[in-house]
């Protein structure tokens, strides 16, 4: 995955180096601007078994800030925010690869360096008895849950470092 580009970032930002599950690395640029979750919408995507995006709906495109062409074929971790603990994604992958649904609160990183919170649900898509892909649907989280999870993730990240 390409490093984020300073020209895409709105306002002040900080720089972070993210290390992914497969050993790859990426520099991400992060601002403190939150984009509110759009009312009444669902953010929908589908990935292959490796977590590569194969379908995104318009709400996904709008919130991520990338074009659909940039997103399709990219790993889902293109949205990974450095404030998210590794443990959350490890739990997600462990759960869905075991064929079970996963649900959790996620802070996502936009192309412009800002962020948005979602309540994400991921399910394995089973066809003729085999898991062939994963569908993820995000909905609007309550403010209370966002604050609760922001505090929990800060604690987990301190423990991880």
């Amino acid at each position: 995955m390409q490093d984020m580009c300073p020209g895409d970032i709105a306002g002040n930002y900080t720089e972070h180096r993210l290390r992914y599950f497969d050993g790859s690395q990426r520099t991400v640029l992060v601002s403190e601007t939150e984009t509110p979750y759009p009312e009444g919408r669902l953010i929908v995507s589908r990935t292959d078994l490796e977590g590569v995006l194969t379908h995104v709906n318009q709400s996904f495109v709008d919130m991520a800030g990338y074009t659909e062409q940039e997103l399709i074929g990219a790993p889902h971790s293109i949205l990974r925010h450095p404030d998210m603990p590794k443990a959350a994604f490890a739990d997600l992958w462990q759960t869905v690869t075991a064929g079970k649904p996963w649900q959790g609160y996620v802070k996502n990183l936009r192309k412009d360096g800002g962020y948005y919170w979602v309540l994400a649900t991921v399910i394995p898509n089973v066809r003729e008895g085999r898991v062939v892909s994963y569908t993820s649907v995000r909905r609007k989280p309550s403010r209370g849950k966002v604050e609760e999870h922001a505090a929990l993730y800060r604690k987990l990240r301190r423990e991880e470092s």
Binding site: Y37, P38, E39, G40, R41, L42, V44, R46, N57, S59, P101, Q103, L119, T121, V122, I123, N125, R127, T135, S136, V137, R139, K140, P141, S142, R143, G144, K145
Partner: protein, 249 residues
């Protein structure tokens, strides 16, 4: 053999004659007898599905999973101008201006239409509301839901967006939409059971070209459907996957 055709109980009552006209058209086109069954509630429809009594169903998205994944129905078509979207409403004089203004103990008026119920509950999640901290009034129809709001018996109501849009201005002006879903991929589907498997392609072709003949267009007009769009198996599987994610809370 007479085929058994059922319509999801949440169809607008004014479309009843339209469904009978459609059934007559279908019998002529397929040259076979088809019995149209209208169910009063979702429980009775599901009982018929479980008992393998149906061959053709115009199904609510909530029943699509049961039909496709358990009963081996195949999707035929969807009405291209109809989507299942929900609105959460209050009375205009209610104190709540946003979903986040709602508090535990909120009284919800709703019908028993399962996908509208599900979307409504998802749209009140940002106020930390769920089945355990809300109260429920189940109504027979959307007019009764509106009445509960206007009489202050309920704080919010769940409506099919189309049903809300079709209310009279007099009633609509006394209600306030707090949030309206824009999901765009949840819809009713016409599905064929295993007995129609060999005629699936013929049936799909008949339906999706209905709008090209004067007679077919007249039947569609009676149902307020612009045209039937073909549905592939994977289209339905995608919607079912989506519904599955939404049922997790």
């Amino acid at each position: 053999m007479t085929l058994q055709f059922a319509i999801s109980p949440d169809f607008p009552p004014e479309h009843i004659p339209g469904w009978y006209i459609f059934n007559t058209w279908l019998q002529r086109e397929l040259d076979c007898a088809i019995h149209l069954q209208l169910y009063d509630n979702f429980g009775d429809l599901r009982e018929a599905i479980h008992a393998d009594r149906l061959d053709l169903v115009y199904a609510n998205p909530f029943d699509a999973s049961l039909l496709v994944r358990e009963k081996h129905f195949m999707p035929l078509a969807r009405a291209d101008n109809l989507q299942d979207e929900a609105v959460v409403l209050t009375a205009d004089h209610h104190r709540a201006r946003h979903i986040e203004d709602l508090r535990p103990g909120t009284v919800i008026a709703a019908t028993d239409v399962p996908d509208i119920e599900m979307m409504g509950m998802i749209m009140i999640e940002p106020a930390d509301l769920n089945r355990n901290n809300t109260q429920r009034i189940t109504c027979d129809n959307y007019v009764m839901v509106a009445k509960q709001l206007l009489n202050d018996e309920a704080d919010i109501g769940f409506f099919l967006a189309e049903a809300f849009d079709n209310l009279s201005d007099l009633v609509k002006n006394q209600l306030r939409p707090l949030v309206r879903s824009q999901i765009q991929v949840i819809h009713h589907s016409l599905m064929a059971g295993p007995a129609l498997q060999e005629r699936h392609a013929t049936l799909q072709q008949l339906l999706t070209t209905m709008d090209t003949s004067e007679k077919g267009q007249g039947v569609l007009d009676a149902l307020k459907i612009h045209r039937w769009s073909p549905l592939a198996q994977e289209d339905s599987e995608f919607m079912i996957d989506l519904m599955d994610t939404l049922m997790i809370s």
